[in-house]
Amino acid sequence: MVDYIWIVIALPLAGAVFLHFFGSRLREPLPGVIATSTIGLGFIYALIATADFFAGTGEAETVHLFDWIAPLGANAELLWDPLSAIMTLTVTGVGALIHLYSIGYMHGDARYGRFFTYLNFFAASMLILVLADNFGLLFVGWELVGLSSYLLISFWFHKPSAAAAGKKAFVVNRIGDVGFLIGLMLILAEFSTLTYGTVLEEPARVITTGMATAITLMLVLGAAGKSAQIPLYFWLPDAMEGPTPVSALIHAATMVTAGVYMVARTAALFELASFSAAAVATIGAFTALFAASIALKQRDIKRVLAYSTISQLGYMFLAVGTGAYVAGIFHLFTHAFFKALLFLGSGSVIHAMGGEQDIAKMGGLRKIMPVTHFTMAVGWLAIIGIPPLAGFWSKDEILAIAFGEGGWFTFLWVIGLITALLTAVYMTRWMYLTFWGEARWEDGVHPHESPAVMTAPLLALAVGSAGLGLLNTPWPFKPALEHFLEPSFEAIKMAHIPSGSTPWILAAVSILTAAAGAWFAYRKYQGADAFDIAPVMPRRTGVWRWVGNAYYVDDIIGNLIVLPGKLVAAWTAFVLDSEIIDGSVRAVGGGVRRIGGWLRPIQTGFTRNYAAVTFAGVVGLLLWFVTRGVG
């Protein structure tokens, strides 16, 4: 079974190739059905292949497909261990549901087939990323998901904002990739191979702590680009220009978690470089807080969720930086469910509202969209951390471990707790403005519940968001996920939840914080029921103006980095190229032309003139003979 694990990659890849050539000829919803079944079959295959790990008898296996760059240890080899297994299950499982949802969501789109081509292509790329057995193949997947992300963000490329958002995501990711690539080259220089097995088995034998720090910091830069962390987070909110299933699949559930996965995969290196690990945790905590604060004042239904995603990814970074790899992967796993759920739910709302994305113009959708509302409520409770839903278990495990580490991590715990409060506030605001209160729709909007093909995935994801937290609960079972992932982190010293009564107290604090935040937001927006949106969205003053404009980060980057770049480009294009380079070329041409003009009268066209000149040449030769005395 494991020997043929490449089938999981090959299925969506074959789907993408097939749909690329025939997708536009098939009638709706056939391309969607094909794409959904390829990835669905992949999920079933992966589930069966994981069975040994569930039973606790499986061992990590590498599957050699073919030689690629054998001297660098970068062959087409797949690694099947619990970590890649859970990533594969997340990608295919959540992916299959989102594919299914897209069948309904993309209904009537002119490029219906092309959308599923890209979606399948993304799934194949992401599976290459998570199943790779070496950094070379990982990088291939890394770049391919970047490509498919670009294609899908600018899927509606006729909108200039979508095209620009795609470019922005692509360029910002390239910046991170530079760091990632430098990290890979350092690994290659030090270890002479890119294979995980050699590099990650006791790296202390080969490299010093300093080199490990350099390598890991470079890897972190790449991870920050892909996972939208400070300083490279700002592409993700713009990525919401893509169709909503794309936001759910790529920019919430799977691709953006690649950075977290990569840090967890290279845990052995981070263990050696404690400074880098602390840096990862710090970046994560501050990103979480920063993005959560911005989310407080966003009006776009998807932008709130985008900043929320950045914030939640910050939690995952905090976890893997603290050494709580299982907690990080656990949160990645649960977040994939509830964030995909929230995104798909918002897509359902946008679908119902006829494309409206401003939450100030929604409200009162609870009765009209009961299924969507119910599932959204599950997602809402999950993300703000109310037990027993999934988010509570994963987020609180992270916070408890950070608290237990002490020192600097206690400070990060405080930040994480504040973030939890803000999360409760902005998610409750989001829920309230969208579903509760009175309707503030614009004229001519007639909301309706979405079709079953869209609500079924919502329900499935809601079940996952509600129940999957129990996978790693200390009670009533033993922490199953930790046990499951053990083979992948055998050699790693992991941080654990502090023992005794501390976790209970911390959990109580978290729940109280979340409840307080939710109550505060509910009260604040309760009085704002009106057709006039002014009370809902008061004029922003003071610090709220900064928050509402996302701290003007885009403007700062635009003026400090993009503008000088554009000026240099403009200078190169309009001065260097068109004046200096073209000018010199024109000068040469003009000079030749002018000299030609002077010489032109010599060519009289009369044959006898030419003959006379030839004869003059003969006489001149004779003259040379005479004067040199040769004769």
Binding site: F606, R608, N609, A612, F615, A616, V618, V619, L622, L623, F625, V626, G631
Partner: protein, 172 residues
């Protein structure tokens, strides 16, 4: 002594024939002058023991080539006298000046020594056998290549002569 007489008589004929060709306004007369020059040169070839070459000179040059010239002159109908007035500025002065300069410099070189190599003891044997011997041994390849040249020339001549611009314009 006999050679001196021959040189003077046929030298005068050759120069007069050449001048007639250049100066006579009627091309037919010019062609006859050139024929006279070529026949004189054939005589000089005989004197210089080039019997085969002399025969070829008479048959090919004076015979075939000059006949061809006359034929073309008749064909294109310019056997009338033409106006010798020069219309290109400076051309006549240039031609005469260059010609005189050429002769002066030849005279300068010749005044020094016309030829520096020592005189050979024996005269070359210009018989058909001797020439053939050289042509078919030492110069075999160039000789064969000339056949190629002649074929190309005759094919080219046929192609050029067939080209009739008026007919082509009508077709178009």
């Amino acid at each position: 002594m006999a050679e001196l007489v021959l040189f003077i008589v046929f030298g005068i004929i050759a120069v007069v024939g050449g001048l007639a060709m250049v100066l006579h306004p009627n091309p037919v007369h010019g062609a006859l002058g050139l024929m006279a020059t070529m026949l004189s040169l054939a005589v000089f070839y005989v004197v210089n023991s080039g019997h085969f070459i002399a025969a070829v000179q008479v048959v090919v040059y004076a015979g075939a080539v000059m006949t061809l010239f006359l034929f073309v002159i008749m064909l294109i109908g310019v056997d009338k006298s033409e106006n010798l007035e020069e219309r290109l500025p400076l051309q006549r002065q240039l031609a005469i000046g260059l010609g005189v300069a050429f002769l002066v410099m030849i005279a300068l070189i010749g005044g020094n020594a016309w030829i520096t190599a020592p005189q050979a003891a024996t005269e070359p044997n210009g018989s058909v056998e001797a020439i053939a011997d050289l042509l078919f041994t030492e110069w075999l390849l160039p000789f064969e290549v000339t056949t190629l040249l002649l074929i190309i020339a005759s094919v080219g001549a046929v192609a050029l002569a067939q080209f009739d611009p008026r007919k082509r314009e009508e077709e178009e």
